[in-house]
């Protein structure tokens, strides 16, 4: 069993590594974690993720778990959610948090960046209609403040409204009173992040990428990025 099994998984892993960009060690680590979470099943369900105790205090718990079961993030061009995911899907989602490789062209980097931002956008756009509406934004901010008690809920709306006004004013400029801004589209999302606060983008990117690096224990990092 041993030899053929490991040869098979190695082959599979190599295949996955090519598609997701993870290294074999990283896939090994993530596979271990996957088995641990799914209790040695082939698939992972929402309950498995919800049972992670460290997530209990995270205000975004529901959104994060949803992101794993969102079909848009699994590189299938369809909306909706799935009930269980396999290891491959797990890796697909995780690959959004991977740092860009050292030597890639500017175009590839830009593409990668768009993909990452798309992931973020999808987390906000809960009804997958391509725009983040005021309602959705409000809900997102409410989630963010959900651990803050009553003050949070009262202010969340005001904050979301202010933020939405800000986006509308930077992406549209002046608007007539009877015009209607239906929500942030992905293009707006990119534009906003690029023009209005380049610093934020850098910060976000740095932050995201830093995070991705953390997936593997750092001693491995020396070996792998060189």
């Amino acid at each position: 069993m041993g030899a053929s099994q490991s040869a098979r998984t190695e082959h599979e892993f190599q295949d996955l590594a090519d598609r997701t960009g993870f290294s074999l060690e990283q896939i090994g680590n993530l596979n271990k974690r996957f088995r641990q979470l799914s209790k040695n099943e082939e698939t992972l369900s929402r309950q498995d993720l919800a049972s992670i105790s460290a997530l209990d205090n995270n205000p975004l718990r529901a959104q994060i778990i949803n992101a794993f079961f969102d079909k848009r993030n699994l590189r299938q061009n369809e909306a909706g959610t799935v009930q269980v995911i396999g290891f491959e899907e797990f890796l697909m989602v995780m690959s959004h948090f991977r740092p860009a490789a050292m030597h890639i062209t500017e175009e590839e980097r830009e593409k990668l960046r768009r993909e990452k931002l798309r992931f973020l956008f999808n987390m906000h756009d809960t009804d997958s209609d391509g725009t983040i509406t005021l309602e959705e934004y409000r809900r997102a901010v409410e989630e963010l403040l959900s651990k803050a008690g009553t003050i949070g809920q009262e202010t969340a709306k005001a904050i979301a409204d202010a933020a939405m006004l800000e986006v509308a004013s930077t992406t549209r400029g002046k608007m007539e009173p009877d015009e209607f801004y239906e929500g942030i589209t992905f293009e707006n999302f990119l534009q906003k992040l690029q023009n209005e606060s380049e610093r934020a983008t850098n910060l976000e990117r740095r932050e995201t990428e830093r995070r991705k690096r953390r997936i593997r224990p750092w001693p491995l990092a020396i070996l792998m990025d060189s």
Partner: protein, 799 residues
């Protein structure tokens, strides 16, 4: 403090004539003062002695009973310069520094070409030259005690208090690498190679030993925060590079301190055993961590103290300064790193202190820190110039030129080599350009000079030569590198700093990402950076904030605090711009709320969204009211030495929060009322009928420009202005606007048959009047049976 101004000779001022009218005027003024007083002082003292003697005599004689007592005129005017000369001369130096700073900015082209630090050194050189020309001994102005105990702390505190924590912590690894390993490398490379050069025949330097060389290397290798700040603030480099170089200059202090003491200690003994090296490493850890610990303790103390200052707001800012200075002194007492203590103290206390002290005190802290640090900085550079003229110099071409070259070479090698290692760990790699700027921005400054000045003459016979070399290196970096770095930054097109205000979206996304990444990390089962940061944050929120922040504010999450701050700032801007009529929306935008408010809603959503809509409007109106009413209140405050005149917007947060709570209560009551299905089915038509019958009523509240209701608040209203209570204010508003409110309210009361308890009737009625008065949306709420009539959705009452 032996600061002394010597007499300026009149002939010295001629050389100043060329330096422009302003400087001349200033110097004449300065000279005049010094000259008069200085010249007057000596005869005056003798005169006073005489007088004193006379007094004694008179006393004795008076007792005896007089005889040949010649009465001397009472000295109407007497001069006693010596009495005041120390503080007077200090003030003169400060005045000179400030006027110089002022002068440079009046000459517009000058400051864009030459950095201020260079100009100040030149001024110092000139002043020193003048003193020397006058034949006086040049005072040792840049005395080490003066420098380390008085001039340096304000600059470092300013840097620590306003340290951008987030970028600093994100790059802490790189910064530490440069600060510790880089400085060590520089010290040993420069020191070692200098020793090698000194051994070459024909340099006449063979008496220089290895340990003094290493000591010299450790003094000269540290990048100086004062010089870096002075130059980098002018070139507006991007945040990453700024924090890298500046952070390095702050954190290398511990290394410098340890190396300095170590080499000073052993240059006597002449032998270093491996044990000493181990001790040195331990010492380094103690010096740096101890400094941080001392700073943290004082920071927490300061935060805790500021919890109780709400009744004596005027002395609030003082605690920030005193505790920080104590932290610095305490650290220096144990030869710990005072700089690190100050940085830690400032950074630790800031978030808590800011939450506790009033907005005004915060402004005061800000201004005082900026003022002190800029004066200190100016003085340091001027003194550097003066000290150059003053010092005994021992110029040795080989030593000086080798020092300058070695410093450059070691810096470049160090930065390139370390970046090569660091880049393997960094997500955002340091490009070649970045490396160049980091290497080129390694300016040396007054700390090196002061350390060199501290050296014992007897132990180090070559002290003067060291000092000369240090001064040359400082001048080289400040003048050559400092002046060329700006054109080079432009030439290389290094990314500049973006002067963007922190937007609410940015804040939301930063927080969102933080939580997201923590979540992903947890899912991965990997306890990394974010996991611990999250843990720390939660701990901070749960325990520390509760202890250190007064009142209820500790519960406020960061995002909300940020939002309030932003709202607050805009409100103040609004008041300052004389507004109050303009729409005080939270964002300065041309887009109003109705543009993003969903218009066509399914009934279920609309039901929920409708009160929200009115609430948004209400909020705006309340703000207008609040600002105007508080203005009237402010006028009635009497003057008191211990309190400041109240700001229209700020009586501390307690007041604000109290009001806010009242507003919320009121709001709840109102919305209770609103959600009661009180509207009779015929109410819209009735309302319209009423509108038609009395159209003027609504012109009062008509929008000034873009459909936003504004209210003419009658500031000279005869109501007693001490009504702090918002409820009262509301009721008064209602009462004042009699033309509309009363009648409408009364009508509606009859129409709708309010279901109210008698006790609360007053409040609710008033609230409702206020609402109906001010807010068309609210009015519609009251009268509309449901959200289905969309024709009236937007501006139902505007013709």
């Amino acid at each position: 403090m032996s600061v002394r101004v010597a007499l300026h000779s009149p002939r010295g001022s001629r050389s100043f004539l060329e330096r422009g009218l302003l400087l001349l005027v200033m110097l004449i003024f300065l000279e005049g003062t010094v000259l008069t007083l200085g010249a007057a002082s000596s005869p005056d003292i003798s005169a006073q002695d005489n007088t004193g003697g006379g007094d004694d005599q008179r006393g004795i004689e008076g007792r005896h009973g007089h005889a040949n007592y010649t009465k001397k005129a009472f000295p109407v005017l007497s001069l006693d310069y010596r009495h005041i000369h120390v503080p007077f001369e200090i003030s003169l130096w400060v005045l000179l520094a400030s006027l110089m700073k002022l002068g440079f900015h009046l000459i517009p082209r000058l400051s864009s070409i030459v950095p201020e630090s260079c100009l100040l050194i030149v001024v110092g050189l000139l002043v020193g030259g003048l003193i020397k020309l006058a034949g006086e001994e040049v005072p040792p102005v840049l005395d080490s005690n003066l420098f380390f105990l008085c001039l340096l702390p304000p600059i470092i505190l300013d840097a620590g208090y306003f340290l951008p924590i987030r970028p600093f912590m994100e790059n802490i690894g790189t910064i530490l690498m440069f600060a510790v390993v880089g400085t060590l490398w520089n010290a040993f490379f420069v020191g070692g190679l200098l020793y090698a050069v000194c051994q070459i025949e024909g340099t006449y330097l063979s008496q220089v030993e290895l340990l003094p060389c290493l000591l010299f290397g450790s003094i000269i290798s540290a990048v100086d925060p004062v010089a870096v700040l002075a130059v980098f603030e002018e070139i507006h480099i991007n945040e990453l590079l700024h924090i890298l170089v500046f952070g390095e200059s702050l954190l290398n202090d511990a290394v410098t301190v340890v190396l300095y003491h170590l080499f000073e200690e052993y240059s006597d003994a002449g032998e270093v055993t491996p044990m000493d090296v181990v001790l040195g490493v331990i010492c380094f850890l103690i010096v740096s961590l101890g400094g941080i610990a001392v700073g943290t303790i004082y920071g927490i103390l300061a935060a805790f103290t500021s919890r109780f200052t709400s009744h004596t707001r005027v002395i609030e800012p003082l605690f920030v300064f005193v505790y920080s200075y104590m932290a610095y002194l305490s650290a220096e007492m144990f030869h710990l790193s005072g700089i690190m203590a100050l940085i830690a103290c400032g950074a630790v206390m800031r978030p808590y202190v800011e939450a506790n002290i009033s907005h005004k005190s915060h402004t005061t802290v800000k201004y005082f820190l900026k003022m002190w640090s800029s004066v200190s900085e100016t003085l340091i550079f001027i003194f550097l110039g003066v000290a150059t003229v003053a010092g005994p110099h021992a110029w040795n071409w080989t030593f000086v030129s080798v020092t300058v070259i070695l410093c450059l070479v070691s810096r470049v090698i160090g930065v390139v080599g370390l970046t090569f290692i660091i880049n393997k760990f960094r997500i955002v790699k340091l490009t070649t350009k970045d490396q160049f700027i980091v290497a080129y921005g390694g300016l040396r400054g007054a700390i090196a000079f002061s350390l060199g000045y501290l050296l014992d003459k007897d132990l180090f016979p070559m002290r003067t030569m060291f000092l000369t070399a240090i001064i040359t290196e400082i001048f080289f970096t400040v003048f050559v590198q400092g002046m060329t770095i700006k054109p080079l930054v432009d030439l290389l097109a290094v990314k500049k700093k973006q002067e963007a205000k922190r937007s609410i979206n940015e804040e939301i996304h930063t927080q969102f990402l933080d939580h997201l990444l923590t979540g992903i990390e947890d899912i991965c089962g990997h306890y990394g950076h974010h996991h611990w940061k999250d843990k720390l944050n939660r701990f901070n929120k749960k325990y520390i904030k509760k202890c250190l922040i007064a009142g209820e504010r500790y519960k406020e999450p960061q995002l909300i605090a940020f939002y309030h701050k932003m709202e607050f700032k805009q409100a103040i801007e609004l008041v300052e711009s004389g507004g109050g009529v303009k729409l005080p929306s939270a964002m300065p935008s041309q887009v109003s709320m109705q543009n993003i408010q969903p218009k066509k809603l399914p009934p279920a959503v609309a039901e929920r969204a409708l009160p929200q809509f009115t609430k948004g409007r209400e909020e705006e109106i309340r703000k207008i009211l609040r600002s105007n009413l508080q203005k009237t209140r402010q006028r009635l405050r009497s003057y008191n030495r211990h309190t400041l005149v109240a700001d229209p917007f700020e009586d501390g947060w307690n007041d604000f929060i109290l009001k806010k709570q009242r507003m919320i209560e009121l709001e709840k009551k109102m919305s209770n009322y609103l959600t009661v299905p009180a509207a009779p089915p015929d109410s819209p038509t009735m309302c319209r009928a009423r509108l038609a019958s009395d159209p003027n009523a609504f012109y009062n509240i008509k929008a000034s420009s873009d459909g936003v209701p504004t209210i003419q608040v009658d500031l000279a209203s005869p109501q007693s202005p001490d009504s702090v209570n918002m409820l009262n204010e509301f009721s008064k508003r209602g009462a004042t606007d009699q033309g509309l409110g009363q009648r409408e309210g009364a009508d509606r009361d009859e129409d709708q048959g309010l279901m109210m308890k008698p006790s609360s009737a007053g409040i609710e009625e008033k609230g409702e009047e206020g609402g109906g008065n001010k807010n068309p949306g609210l009015m519609r709420c009251l009268s509309d049976p449901g959200p289905s009539n969309e024709d009236e959705e937007d501006e139902p009452f505007l013709p």
